[in-house]
């Protein structure tokens, strides 16, 4: 009996250990490991969607969400926005040209995260051809092309914001891949961006079959638009015009107008026929703008000079109301200078989105941008008259009126300045202003630094302006410093000499 008991106990022990099959299995129970992923075409598709949704990430701690970065980098140093009463000290420092490397808004981490997702897909998706017979070469080309386009867009933001940045083209898949990497010259980065976009272009579809996907994923036209912008930045005007023409001649895009409300179609509903590429926020994934722009808690508002100096004041002594459709009720609310594009719920500037409705899309490119990029390029090619015709299309759609200057279609420099002003009106608060001003200022080896100085004169408080002017005269100051954490963890990085 005693023996039987012992045997039973032993057997039970032996059996119980063997029945626990996963005892030595180290795989995580709540995720998928790399070896099991990248097997089917559905997983490739999920990888692509993952890239897009990484762009919707929120800010947490020192990791600033991509959209918040795009807004801040593109607007904070320029003259369209002023900090609201909830703006943080770090945000005020950016506005005042007092940026230090420990300013968290200089953190590029989230953009490199998206870049790594792109790199991973570009590296691993080709292997799926072996494991999934239903995955075609064409599908692979499209997936890789989408990843390359998004990667190019991210690098384009980085190169415009930081100038020289590390160019990482291979994936970081495990901890063993982490290695310090030095900065690449801005020209090398721009060359890579152009190569990527050129390679991606033939692989991208003209349409994904529905409106939301056509605007929310990169089509061939999105690649053309980014490429046009890159060519404009690198002062290759003929190439820029060629890319713009591809979009214009497709006849798939047009300007919202003809009685339709610009605000309702472009910003309130989004994904309009004017749009080329925009980030898709929705009820489940809200944008960061409620906390940034809502009048009761706002960190950012429109600058007070916008109505009388940018969009133009109406002469109250005439009966007819002259109003630029892009001003009041579209870009901003006149009474308290709330940035209306992202927070408004109607075009009469009376009703504001509620917190759970804060999902206005972030527009990267739209047709108006293509027309104005083309105008800028052909003006640089000494065709100011042709350029003025394109600008006129934009102005007529917006019912713009002359209030302090008229368009001089005979002068190249006059048109250059006018196009810059028109872009200011057209893309108010769309994260483009600083890049527009910098692009025009740095053209022909900083021929027009005064554009930047004018912006500084408008936006910087009087008691800091003289210092800011002298800072702006140092070209290195036009680019942000590398965030301190990156400097500490990647010893090969060299700080921008302005931030010593």
């Amino acid at each position: 009996m005693k023996q039987f008991f012992s045997i039973t106990v032993l057997l039970t022990l032996v059996l119980s250990t063997t029945s626990c099959k996963k005892w030595l299995d180290l795989k995580p129970q709540d995720g998928i490991v790399g070896d099991e992923f990248w097997q089917t075409k559905e997983q490739v598709e999920a990888g692509i969607i993952g890239i897009y949704s990484s762009l919707l990430s929120e800010t947490s701690g020192t990791s600033i969400g991509p959209v918040e970065s795009f807004f801040l980098w593109g607007e904070a140093r320029a003259d369209m926005v002023v900090p609201g009463f909830r703006a943080s000290a770090e945000e005020l420092d950016i506005v005042n040209m007092n940026i230090q490397p420990n300013n968290r808004y200089t953190n590029w981490r989230m953009l490199y995260q998206t870049i790594n997702y792109c790199n991973t897909l570009i590296q691993l998706a080709p292997g799926v051809l072996q494991t999934d017979n239903t995955f075609t070469q064409e599908q692979l080309n499209r997936a890789v092309a989408e990843a390359k386009t998004v990667r190019a867009l991210m690098y384009f933001y980085l190169v415009r914001t930081f100038r020289d940045v590390p160019l990482k083209l291979n994936a970081t898949i495990s901890d063993e891949d982490i290695e310090p990497i030095a900065k690449s010259n801005a020209d090398a980065v721009l060359t890579q961006i152009i190569t990527d976009l050129k390679e991606a272009e033939p692989g991208l579809p003209l349409s994904y079959g529905n409106q939301a996907a056509d605007k929310g994923r990169v089509t061939r036209y999105a690649a053309n638009a980014i490429l046009a912008d890159v060519y404009l930045w690198t002062e290759k005007y003929a190439e820029c015009v060629a890319e713009c023409d591809k979009i214009i001649n497709s006849n798939r895009f047009g300007l919202i107008g003809g009685g339709q409300s610009i605000f309702d179609e472009l910003y309130l509903q989004g994904n309009s026929s004017e749009s080329i590429f925009e980030l898709q926020f929705d009820v489940q994934k809200l944008n960061p703008f409620y906390g940034m722009h809502h009048p009761t808690i706002r960190r950012w508002g429109g600058a007070p000079h916008l109505m009388d100096q940018v969009f133009g004041p109406d002469d109250p002594n005439t009966l007819e109301v002259e109003q630029d459709l892009r001003g009041l009720g579209t870009s901003l609310r006149g009474s308290d200078f709330t940035i209306w594009k992202y927070i408004g719920a109607n075009n009469t500037a009376t009703s504001i989105r509620s917190a759970d409705q804060s999902f206005a899309n972030w527009i990267f490119y739209r047709y108006a941008d293509v027309l104005l990029m083309k105008a800028e390029a052909i003006n640089q090619m000494d065709q100011p008259l042709e350029a003025s015709r394109l600008v006129k299309i934009i102005r007529e759609r917006a019912e713009a009126f002359d209030f302090n200057s008229t368009m001089d279609s005979t002068s190249k420099s006059g048109m250059e300045e006018f196009i810059l002003q028109e872009r200011q009106r057209e893309f108010a608060f769309e994260g483009k202003r600083w890049y527009d001003v910098l692009r025009n200022a740095k053209r022909n080896n900083y021929q027009n630094l005064q554009y930047l100085l004018e912006v500084t004169a408008t936006s910087i408080p009087a008691d800091r302006q003289q210092a800011a002017f002298n800072k702006i005269r140092d070209k290195n100051s036009h680019y942000l410093p590398i965030f301190l954490y990156e400097m500490q963890t990647n010893k090969l990085l060299v700080q921008n000499p302005f931030y010593k």
Partner: protein, 566 residues
């Protein structure tokens, strides 16, 4: 055998333990929580750059306290900077410089606060150095790169080095404190000879040549005029200046216009340009006279104003020649000659419904109503119209009211421009006061008329208000719910009423709240405080400030905003 085995085992164990023990290294425990050095430690760590400055600190006995707990900011000059300073002072080494001079030097490089470059402005730092003088910051260009410029003497080559007891900014030159007073500095410059002579004649030279040991009284700011500025106004010598202004013949008398001219150029307190532009007006030593300040096209402009539709161009302060720090203050250079101006008191017919914010709203100004709401207690949506927080959100508002319809019973009755501002007020829930900033008013005695459109929210509504200007309560109250009594203009004026519009409806009422003696020529504040009753429908249209010796009930205003004299 067994024993031997046991023995060898024990032995080898002992041997092995013996051999192992020395191999077991002692773990070093770091008793410090941080390896951050203090200020002196940092300087000692970089002898290539700072050995000379450290030597100065050692010699003056400052090393000990700069290495102790505290919060300091040090501008640390590099060795090359100290060397060129020594060469300038004909000293071979640090030991050859006098102790006093070294001590002053160290004190001038030290601030008892942690100041990062983030708070650097165009002007002085918020705290003085330990020497008592302020440092001036700016940004300058050197070899195509810009960097912070301290006291116009040294560039910051490395900023915001954070150490255990403060912050170090490395500078490429030694900062030298000023040793002269304002008076002496100006005297040393021949291009200010006329101004200096005027200073001496009026007795201001002595005032500006003293360094008061009491720092609350020490600082003064002077706006100096160069001989060229005088010459541009046709004054080529001190005699010409004296002939022009000194009507009593004794410039030292406070009643003499030359004395007043001088007093008008001196302010108390240390005011760098960066401080001057942050306030709209500054009081001068000439009693009741202020200089107004504007910032236009990146220039600091004094005394530019529009009085009665006449534009008076201002005086620009020359930026490069200004912000000159002295031991007892700072002086600036004016590009042109100016003095205080006698202005005759002039009536101001202030249309309160024309304010900057509404002018920027073309769809509403002279077209339709618009309401501003205070979203929170920290929020004041308008620049020149502010109000005390009311508990009720719905009435925490200011409405620009416009209605030109003849059937409208408010502004439609013929208010100036058919518009007014609506100011809900009264305890317990509505705004508890309203305060408006007037246009510039020339100093003098004025009668103050509150012109409003009478309205009662309900038949029992009452809104009795006290009016105060610059905090002084006016003699009479006014009530937004009272209509204008009937009577001839003369009869009405005798009892403190007038009809201020072309329209004759009794709801359009002007009420005299009293006489006010404005002491200075500038913008003033007027405040409405409800005494009894509460309602939303208080429609304020205009406020008239009319000199006491001028006719009071004319001109009147049409609904197009024009003046009529009948």
């Amino acid at each position: 055998m067994n024993r031997n085995v046991l023995f060898s085992l024990v032995l080898s164990t002992i041997l092995a333990t013996g051999l192992l023990l020395p191999a077991c290294k002692k773990v070093e425990i770091n008793p410090y929580t941080t390896e951050d050095v203090n200020i002196v430690g940092y300087l000692a760590k970089h002898p290539d750059s700072f050995s000379l400055f450290k030597q100065i600190l050692d010699r003056t006995g400052n090393s000990a306290f700069l290495n102790a707990y505290g919060a300091y900011t040090v501008f640390a000059p590099t060795n090359s900077g100290v060397k060129s300073w020594l060469a300038k002072n004909n000293a071979a080494a640090v030991d050859a410089v006098s102790m006093d001079k070294l001590q002053d030097l160290v004190k001038f490089h030290l601030l008892v606060d942690t100041i990062t470059t983030g708070v650097f402005k165009d002007g002085k730092l918020p705290v003085a150095t330990m020497l008592g003088q302020y440092l001036v910051t700016g940004v300058g260009m050197k070899n195509g790169a810009s960097s912070y410029l301290i006291n116009r003497q040294a560039f910051v080559t490395q900023s915001n080095v954070i150490v255990g007891n403060g912050i170090i900014h490395v500078v490429d030159n030694v900062l030298e404190p000023s040793t002269l007073t304002i008076a002496k500095q100006l005297e040393a410059k021949p291009e200010y000879s006329i101004f200096v002579e005027a200073m001496k004649a009026t007795g201001f030279y002595d005032l500006l040549n003293t360094v008061d040991p009491d720092t609350t009284k020490r600082w003064m700011s002077v706006i100096a005029e160069s001989n060229r500025a005088f010459a541009d106004s046709g004054i080529t010598s001190f005699d010409a200046l004296k002939a022009k202004y000194s009507q009593t013949g004794n410039p030292a008398s406070p009643n003499d216009s030359l004395y007043m001219y001088m007093a008008y150029h001196v302010m108390t307190g240390i005011k760098f340009l960066g401080d001057i532009i942050t306030a709209p007006a500054h009081v001068t030593l000439q009693p009741q006279e202020v200089i107004s300040v504007q910032y236009k096209n990146q220039e600091v402009v004094l005394n530019e104003a529009e009085f009665n539709g006449v534009f008076e161009p201002g005086i620009v302060l020359n930026r490069t020649g200004s912000d000159n720090a002295a031991t007892n203050g700072v002086w600036h250079d004016a590009q042109a000659h100016y003095t205080l101006k006698y202005r005759k008191p002039t009536a101001v017919f202030w249309d309160v419904a024309t304010f900057p914010e509404i002018l920027k709203m073309p769809t509403h100004y002279k077209r339709q109503n618009f309401t501003w709401t205070r979203q929170s207690e920290s929020d004041q949506p308008l620049q020149d119209i502010v109000w005390g927080w009311g508990a009720l959100a719905g009435t925490n508002t200011m409405t620009y009211y416009y209605n030109s319809s003849s059937s409208n019973s408010i502004t439609g009755r013929g208010a100036n421009n058919f518009d007014a501002i609506q100011m809900p007020m009264g305890l317990p829930n509505r705004p508890v006061w309203w305060e408006l900033t007037t246009p510039p008013i020339v100093k003098g005695k004025y009668k103050v008329w509150i012109c409003y459109v009478q309205r009662k929210q309900s038949s029992s509504s009452n809104q009795l208000c006290q009016v105060s200007i610059n905090g002084d309560v006016m003699a009479n109250t006014m009530n937004f719910t009272l209509t204008r009594p009937s009577g001839t203009d003369a009869e009405l004026e005798a009892i403190g009423w007038k009809r201020y519009t072309e329209g004759t409806n009794a709801v359009l009422a002007g009420k005299l709240v009293g006489v006010y003696d404005f002491k200075t020529t500038q913008r003033h504040t007027i405040r409405f405080t409800p005494l009894a009753g509460t309602q939303n429908d208080n429609y304020l249209d205009m406020i008239h400030f009319i000199p006491i010796d001028e006719p009071q009930y004319l001109p009147r205003f049409t609904s197009e905003g024009e003046k009529i004299y009948q």
